[in-house]
Every structure is written in structure tokens, then in C-alpha cells.
């Protein structure tokens, strides 16, 4: 028997959390969600109840802090309409078992609540229970009583096969004695935290313990929005990347040749260069080309609005309007600072899931630094890349480098190892002008050119000039023109020289002919005809 026993689990209904918990919450057991204000404890537990109510597991939500009407309203803001489910008897909200107005005159216990839950569980087949802000209630008991109350609730839950969640606030040093037992009484403990780094807030989840099950122990960012909680686990076990696919044209035949055939599908391509080298133009050229072929492209911009970008691209003759109208070109934009990296990721993730693009462009990854920390931007990019690679999506990333020539900083954010192809755009400054050149530094799985190529951004898009194979080094722009002129002049000079020499040769030859003739004539006159060779 190789198969190990798997704990029965209940889906949390929260996207991504089941993956971390390897299946969900432990069935018929109790979990704690611990977190400070604003971490979304109520949303977490409400999603659990709401999801259960919709999927045949009715639940009771008991709030010790909020009123029933506030709960309904708050749930609506994340897209959960509770009232219909309440009417069907699938979801029951109870509030304020111990409101502050209650005068405590002597010992109390929660037998009343147990009786009510017992009764409801029998009547409605309740399978899920949430106690929101249980710590409020426990303030009324000493630790022995607390333990007893919790124990009696757990006994009741077991009797009805109920999976329960308690939410609590974080333990402060002086309150430690009150709560310390809580985490050990339950089977699964999840910690929520809210952190601010460089003015950007991130919500972080960590599973602290899970009796009888494997689980992801790492911290994991999450977001709260319409549709509830969203978690995209960073480290899912095993890479499921698709192999590099067929070639897809970059939109420029000459560039395809440089790349060894074009971009590979499911690959990640980095286009790096200083400002104004035409990164966006190159990406837009690609967008035009693929959209025309009937493929979808998602453009994630951290710099320009859609209208501005489409309009600006008209100047170098790249017309995205048709692609836009056909609905094949989707554009999402937003300043990196406007959201946390997690929300940015979720936004992109949703768009990828819904729009199902064949290609994604990120303009520009250098802006991702502004999402908060270096780490946050790295996570964002790596996870986007993983999402794309899992789905076989080509991912074009633009990176704005600071200095014009350093190859080291091309990749930016240390992601070079996951990049399949790198195109580096450069300025070359010669004789008072700046010219643009590009080189393909890396192109996994393709034979790419090793030559710098000069390119022009014309009114009709980007044009690559033929490779200049003259003397010395590579030349661009005017210098190249001058060199070409010089070459032509030298050629003409040589031609003229040849002509002169040819004329001289003719003159010499005719002189020689003359000499021969006169010599023969003289021999005939002497009567010496023994050597016939002389007459030829």
C-alpha cells in the first residue's frame, strides 16, 4: 500500500487558497484565521460561507462585531448577494450575541448559542459555521472557561459534521495569555498580515499550521476585490512550461532574419534600450502583424494610456486602430504606484484568463520597480512569465535601460535566466548625430545573427538597413553614407586608372607590332627566310 491516507477536505471556495492548503480546509474540523483590522478576515470567512451556501453546504455566519445589515452590505461590495441565499435557508446571519449594552451580572456561558446552532444544523443541514471576531466574545471568560466553551462548540460541530472557522485578532504581548491556547485547539491556523513597503500596501497570507496535511508554508500575497479573495500562489510545485513553439513573425522580415526566423511562440522576449530607441514601436509593429493574422494580443502598459499610445504610433506609420476595432488588441494601463504588485498581477491574470491572448506585451518592466520593492516587481514579472509560459503565450517585455551601452543591465530585475530572447537597441553617436542599431544577443532555440544592424524609424514603420560589410568597423548614418561615397569614388578612380593603363598597353602593343613588322621586312629583303617563325 503505497497510497497514504488523505485527510478529507472542504474547498475554501477562495481561488488559490485550496492550492496552498492542498485541497482546502480540514473537513469537520475547526480553523482559525488570525489577522489585524483591514486584512479581510470577514471577507475570507464570508467567502467560505457564501461558496458553501451556493454549493450545497449551508452555513451560519455569526458576527461578534458587525450587524447583520452591515454584513449584507459589505458582502455586496465584493459581489456576494446574500439575501437570496438567506431566503432559501442556505445562509444564516446572526449578529452581536454579546452587544456592549448587555450588562453582565454574574457568570455566563454560550449554551444558548449552542442550542440555537444545534437546532439550525438539524433543521437546515448546516455544514459550515463562522465565528467572526471570536476574541470579542472570549473577553467575557477566563481562560479555563474559554477552553471549555471552545471545546463544547467543537463537540457540537463534530456531531453535525460542520467545518468551522474562527477569526481572531493578532495577539498583543499583554493579551498573550488569553489566546495562546486558541491556535493549539484548532487544526488549521492561517495568519493574515498587512504590510506597507515604500508606501505600497501588500496583504500577505501564511498558513501557520495544518494538522495531518501538507501545505504551502510560504508567505503569499493576496488581494480583495469584486469576486472575493484572490491568491495566486508564487511557488506552485513543478514548472509546467510549454516548450518553445513555432516562429511567429516580429512584423519585420529583416528582423525575423536577425532572430533566426522570428519570435518563438511561448517564449519570453526582452527588448531593451534607452528611451527613444523605439521599443514601443517595435512592440507595436509586432502587435499590428499578429492582430492582422487574427491572433489576440494583450498590451500591458505602465506608461501611456491606450489612446495616447495608439495615436503616438501613427507618427512612425504603425496603425493599431484596425487591430483595436477588431477586438484583437487589448490594452490595460495604469501607473505602477496606483496598485500593489499583487493587484497588478491579478488584473493582468484576469485579462489573460478572459481574453485568452496568444501574445502579451509588457511596457515597460523597468517601471515595475515602482510597484514597491524590488522583490515585488520581481515576483510580478516572474509570475506573469510563468502564467504566460504555462499557457503557451509569447511574452514581449520592454525594458528601459539607463545607460546606452551596458549589456549587464539589459535584463533588469535579474530575470535574464527566464528570458528566451534578447534584442538590444542602441544609440550610436558618430560625427554629431545619433543613429540606432539593434542586435540580437540571445535567441534560445534559433540561429540568430551576431551583427549589429542599423535601423530607421521612418514614416512607414521601422526599416532595417542591409549589413554594411566594408573596411574596418560598422558605420551608421552619415558616417556610413560618407564611407559609401568614398568607396564609390575610389572605385571610379580605379576604373579610370585601368582605362589609362589599358590605353598605354594598346600603344605599347602597336609599337611592338610595328617593330616586328619592320624586322620581318628587313629579313625578307636580306633573303634570309630560314626562320619562318619570324613571319607570324
Amino acid at each position: 500500500m503505497n497510497q497514504t491516507y488523505q485527510l478529507p477536505k472542504v474547498s475554501s471556495g477562495i481561488s488559490g487558497l485550496d492550492e496552498i492548503l492542498e485541497g482546502g480546509f480540514p473537513k469537520n474540523r475547526t480553523c482559525i484565521i488570525n489577522g489585524g483590522p483591514g486584512c479581510g478576515k470577514t471577507n475570507f470567512s464570508m467567502e467560505f460561507i457564501y461558496d458553501g451556501a451556493k454549493n450545497g453546504e449551508p452555513g451560519i455566519f455569526i458576527s461578534f462585531e458587525e450587524t447583520v445589515s452591515a454584513l449584507r452590505q459589505n458582502a455586496l461590495t465584493i459581489g456576494f448577494d446574500l439575501e437570496p441565499l438567506e431566503k432559501e435557508g442556505k445562509l444564516i446571519l446572526l449578529d452581536n450575541p454579546l452587544s456592549p449594552e448587555v450588562i453582565v451580572a454574574g457568570k455566563i456561558n454560550l449554551e444558548g448559542l449552542r442550542v440555537i446552532i444545534d437546532n439550525m444544523a438539524t433543521r437546515h443541514g448546516i455544514k459550515r459555521v463562522v465565528f467572526d471576531a471570536l476574541d470579542v466574545l472570549l473577553n467575557f471568560f477566563d481562560s479555563n472557561e474559554e477552553r471549555k466553551e471552545i471545546f463544547l462548540f467543537q463537540k457540537l460541530f463534530r456531531k453535525h459534521g460542520i467545518t468551522a472557522i474562527f477569526t481572531t485578532k493578532p495577539v498583543t504581548p499583554d493579551a498573550f495569555a488569553t489566546y495562546e491556547f486558541m491556535d493549539s485547539l484548532v487544526d488549521c491556523v492561517i495568519y493574515l498580515d498587512q504590510r506597507v513597503v515604500n508606501q505600497i500596501t501588500t496583504l500577505i497570507l501564511r498558513v501557520k499550521k495544518y494538522r495531518g496535511s501538507r501545505f504551502g508554508r510560504n508567505e503569499c500575497p493576496y488581494t480583495i476585490g469584486v469576486g472575493g479573495i484572490n491568491i495566486i500562489p508564487i511557488s506552485t510545485l513543478g514548472l509546467r512550461h510549454k516548450p518553445l513553439g513555432s516562429y511567429v513573425s516580429s512584423g519585420l522580415q529583416d528582423l525575423d532574419k536577425v532572430l533566426g526566423g522570428g519570435y518563438r511562440r511561448a517564449s519570453s522576449v526582452l527588448i531593451a534600450g534607452v528611451t527613444g530607441t523605439g521599443k514601443t514601436s517595435l512592440a507595436a509593429t509586432f502587435a499590428c502583424s499578429v492582430c492582422e493574422k487574427g491572433e489576440n494580443l494583450l498590451y500591458i502598459s505602465f506608461e501611456e494610456s491606450q489612446d495616447a499610445m495608439v495615436n503616438n504610433m501613427l507618427s512612425p506609420g504603425i496603425d493599431l486602430r484596425h487591430a483595436q476595432e477588431s477586438g484583437r488588441f487589448h490594452y490595460i494601463s495604469g501607473l505602477p504606484e496606483s496598485l500593489g504588485s499583487e493587484e497588478h498581477l491579478l488584473r493582468a491574470f484576469r485579462e489573460i484568463e478572459n481574453f485568452k491572448p496568444e501574445h502579451v506585451v509588457i511596457d515597460a518592466i523597468s517601471a515595475c520597480h515602482r510597484m514597491g520593492s524590488e522583490r515585488a516587481s520581481f515576483d510580478f514579472l516572474v509570475r506573469i512569465l510563468n502564467i504566460c509560459k504555462d499557457r503557451g503565450i509569447t511574452c514581449i517585455m520592454l525594458n528601459q535601460t539607463v545607460s546606452p551601452s551596458s549589456i549587464q543591465e539589459l535584463s533588469g530585475i535579474e530575470i535574464s535566466s527566464v528570458i528566451d530572447a534578447v534584442i538590444s537597441l542602441h544609440y550610436v553617436e558618430v560625427s554629431g548625430e545619433i543613429n540606432r542599431t539593434l542586435i540580437c544577443i540571445k535567441s534560445r532555440g534559433s540561429r540568430h545573427s551576431n551583427q549589429y544592424r542599423e535601423y530607421l524609424i521612418t514614416d512607414n514603420g521601422i526599416t532595417l538597413l542591409p549589413v554594411y560589410t566594408g573596411v574596418n568597423k560598422m558605420l551608421t548614418g552619415t558616417a556610413r553614407h560618407i564611407q559609401e561615397e568614398k568607396d564609390r569614388a575610389a572605385q571610379i578612380q580605379l576604373e579610370q586608372k585601368i582605362e589609362t593603363k589599358e590605353y598605354e598597353l594598346k600603344v605599347l602593343k602597336s609599337a611592338q607590332e610595328e617593330l616586328k613588322k619592320s624586322y620581318a621586312t628587313r629579313a625578307i629583303m636580306r633573303g634570309d627566310l630560314k626562320n619562318p617563325l619570324l613571319y607570324e
Partner: protein, 92 residues
């Protein structure tokens, strides 16, 4: 019944120890301080949990002073007679 000055509903559960104590204590209190000017209804949640949900009573024992507007809630075994007295005197 409705004409009495003090209207009480006492919620108890399962004839638990402190519920029994609460019943004893409130009866003692009424006898000592309220003479005959009160009406006391005792509800066992086990038999009538709909009323408990309607009144928002989840903790037992719970005494509701229904003659107050809004009604006052007193939780516990009601062993503290002074607290009840204070509540009845200050809140009308």
C-alpha cells in the same frame, strides 16, 4: 400581566447550573425588591429557540427587561443584585 411595572423575560438553557441559579436569583430579587409589581416569563431556549433568535439572545442566562425602552439586557446568573437594582433604577 401587561399592567405590571416590570416586565421580565429570562432565557435559560438546558437547565444548566447557572440557569437554575439565575431563576432562583431573579425570583429572590423580585420578592425582595419589587413586591408584586412585576411579570416574569422564563423561556428555555431548547424549547423555544425561535424566540431567542428573534430577540438576539445567544448567551445564557439572559434577562431582558422588556418594560424598558429599549429593553435592557442582563447576562449572567444574576447573583449581583446591586447591578440589577442599579439598572432598574437608572433606566426607565
Amino acid at each position: 400581566m401587561k399592567d405590571k411595572k416590570y416586565q421580565f423575560i429570562l432565557f435559560v438553557a438546558n437547565s444548566q447550573h447557572n440557569s437554575v441559579k439565575a431563576i432562583f436569583n431573579i425570583k429572590q430579587f423580585c420578592k425582595n425588591y419589587l413586591e408584586d409589581d412585576y411579570y416574569l416569563e422564563i423561556v428555555d431556549i431548547l424549547n423555544n429557540h425561535d424566540l431567542a433568535v428573534a430577540k438576539g439572545v445567544y448567551i445564557t442566562p439572559m434577562l431582558i427587561v422588556d418594560s424598558h425602552h429599549p429593553p435592557s439586557y442582563m447576562a449572567g446568573d444574576l447573583s449581583d443584585a446591586n447591578k440589577i437594582k442599579m439598572e432598574l433604577l437608572t433606566n426607565k
